[in-house]
Symmetry: C3
C-alpha cells in the first residue's frame, strides 16, 4: 500500500482535471474520466452510514453517464449551475489489483443567476482509480454529500 | 532553508492526513500527529497580532490532547460538528534543528443538523513539523483564526 | 506540452506564495510576482465570455501594480479586507515560448469587521507563467470572477 509520490501527484492532477471539466462546463468530457463499466453515484451521508441504497444519482457504466449528459444538454433547466469545486485531504485508503482507493474532501461553491456565490455542497469522494494505457480512470466514484438542500441541481455531476 | 520538493509533498500529505482524521471523526488519532511534548493552541488573530495570550484552547503536550478527546467523547454535546477542512497556501517560513516552519491557509465548512453547509471558520496554521523515525510530527501547531463567532464548537480540534 | 511533475509542483508552490502574500497583507510583494511588462486584470466572467473589455482593474505593467499598492496603502479604506484564498483545479492549458498557460479555480473567503467569515468571490485565474533567472514570474494574470457583488473591495489584488 505504499504509493510513490509521483503517483500521488498524478492522481491529484487527475482529480483536478476532473473538477475543471465540470466547472468549465465541458460535461461531454465527464464520462471520459471513467472506465466503461465504472460506477458513479451521488449518495447522502446518512444513507452511506446506514448502508442504505437510494442514491440521488447512479450510473452503472459510462454509457449511462453519456445519456445523463445528453439529458442535461437538452433539458429545460431553470437555473444553470455555475460551480467551482475545491478539493483537500486526498488520502490513500487502500490499493490492490482493482485500483487505488482514495478519500477526498470536496466542496462546491455555486454562483446563482443574481451573481451571488455561496457554499452549495460539501462531502467526500470515495474513489477507486485504475491506471490504463490511456491514463488514469475512475473504476468507481462515490460522491457522499453532507448537505441536504441539494435537490434542484442534483442532476449535475459533482 | 531550501526544502526539497519531495519533502514539501510529504508535508502536504501529512497535513491532509491530519485534517482527514478530524473530518472523518477519528479524533482518537488526532494526538498521534503530535510529538509528546508538542504545543497545540487555538488563538484569535487579534491576540496573536498583539502578543496577548488567552488562547481558546491550549494543550501543552499530547497527554492533554488525549484528555481533550476523552472529554469530547463523553460530553453531552448539543450539536455535533460536521467539518470539512480545506487547505491552501502552504508556505515554508523557516527551517532549523527544531523543524520546518509552515504557514497554511485553512477554512472549515460545517454542516449543521438541518443539513445546511456554510463557512464555519477561516484562519492560518503556524506549524513546526519535525521528522521522526515514525514519520512527520507536529512539534507545534498554532491555529490562528479570523472568525470571531466560533464559541460553541471551539472545544473541537481544528 | 508535456510539463514535468517537478515543474507542476513548482508552479503550484509559486501560486501558493502569491496568494499567501496577499492574505498576509504583504501587498508590497505583490508586484514582484510579475514580469515588468506583465498584464494583470480582473474581469467579470460575462465580459470574458463576450470578448468585451471593461475590466474592473487593469495593470499593464508592474509599475502600475506598484502604484496601485501605494494607493491602497494611502487610501482611506472604509473596511479593510481580510482575505483567505483557496486554489484548486490548477490545469496546464498550453505551453510555448511565451510561457506555461494555467487555469486555476480560486475562491476568496473574507472576514468582515464583525468577525464573520463568508464566501467573498469565486472565479478562475488564467495565467501565463515564465521561468526567469530569479524564479517563476507571471507574464499575464487574468482574474475572471463569477461573483457580481464585489464592487467595494475590488481595488485589492485577487
Amino acid at each position: 500500500m505504499i504509493i510513490p509520490p509521483e503517483t500521488l501527484a498524478e492522481l491529484r492532477y487527475f482529480q483536478d482535471e476532473y473538477i475543471a471539466a465540470i466547472d468549465d462546463d465541458r460535461l461531454e468530457d465527464w464520462p471520459r474520466f471513467f472506465l466503461e463499466d465504472a460506477l458513479y453515484e451521488i449518495i447522502p451521508r446518512e444513507n452511506e452510514a446506514m448502508g442504505l441504497p437510494a442514491p440521488l444519482l447512479r450510473c452503472e457504466n459510462a454509457a449511462m453517464m453519456r445519456d445523463r449528459v445528453a439529458s442535461l444538454r437538452h433539458a429545460n433547466i431553470f437555473e444553470q449551475p455555475s460551480y467551482r469545486h475545491f478539493l483537500s485531504a486526498m488520502i490513500v485508503t487502500g490499493a490492490d489489483e482493482s485500483g487505488i482507493r482514495l478519500r477526498t474532501n470536496y466542496c462546491v461553491l455555486n454562483t446563482n443567476v443574481e451573481g451571488s456565490s455561496a457554499v452549495y455542497q460539501t462531502g467526500i469522494y470515495r474513489d477507486v482509480i485504475r491506471r490504463t494505457e490511456a491514463g488514469w480512470r475512475f473504476a468507481e466514484k462515490r460522491v457522499i454529500y453532507d448537505t441536504s438542500r441539494v435537490q434542484t441541481l442534483l442532476a449535475y455531476p459533482i
